[in-house]
Amino acid sequence: MSTKILTVDDSRTIRMIIQRAFRLHDCTLCQAANGEEGLMVAAREKPDLIILDITMPVMDGMTMLTKLKENPELKDIPVIMLTAESGRDSVLKISQIGVQDYLVKPFKEDQLVEKVSRIIALQVKAPMASTA
């Protein structure tokens, strides 16, 4: 069974970049555009890992993270914060709620893959069989 990763970001651009970053890996990417939607998708899909933005409409990433950690069924899902905010207070607050790692935008795709692979096992996709 392939690994399942949930991306929660209001930017379609970032969601597309994350999808591209894992194109060579055997994983399924689910998406949500805000924290509220993210909690619903997390409950439904039970992802192996969540990549979470902070500043989003409807429900921000900090609120989603807090609610996730309060939910006994979801609290053990590892979370990587992917955000434009790198201030000391912000990092401290997030680490107190409980995240596995933190990546500041702009980021390189291989940095993200490396951080994810430190937390969950990623399998490289088998090459397609040639029909020639």
Binding site: S11, T13, T55, T83, A84, G87, V104, K105, P106, K108
Partner: protein
């Protein structure tokens, strides 16, 4: 993400011309209040979107993808500003990015706010940053 070399540069204010511009803006609210506007020309906005998304410019849909990339670029720039403000003891939070398109676009500061213009050169293309800021305390 863009594979470009960005550096501070002498200001070339291209806001008042006939070029079509894409302007991203993100605000910050707290002990400091303000907005940062990120001005780029429409052709350069398409180049940025193409680079960031890894798509040919012909593959970009009408405005949505380009707007989203400029919004995200604005968010990254203002996120760095916000982090520095917070680390300097000026706590604030960011607003959601918004985009304006048009020619001859400019923002006018409200009474009592400070305005700064900064030029950045990305390879050979200019980006103009306009920072409007009001300190609460």
């Amino acid at each position: 993400m863009f594979n470009m070399n960005a550096r501070p540069a002498a200001l070339r204010d291209f806001r008042g011309g006939n070029e079509m511009l894409v302007v991203g803006s993100v605000g910050f609210i707290g002990d400091a209040n303000g907005v940062v506007y990120v001005y780029v020309t429409e052709p350069f906005a398409r180049t940025l979107a193409s680079r960031m998304l890894g798509l040919a410019e012909a593959e970009l849909d009408n405005h949505e993808m380009v707007n989203d990339v400029i919004g995200e670029l604005s968010n990254m720039i203002v996120g760095a500003v916000k982090s520095r403000l917070c680390d300097s003891g000026v706590p604030c939070v960011l607003t959601i990015p918004s985009i304006v398109r048009g020619q001859n676009v400019s923002a006018e500061p409200a009474l009592g706010s400070e305005c700064r213009l900064l030029g950045v050169l990305c390879d050979t293309e200019p980006i103009l940053l306009e920072i409007l800021m009001k300190r609460s305390k």
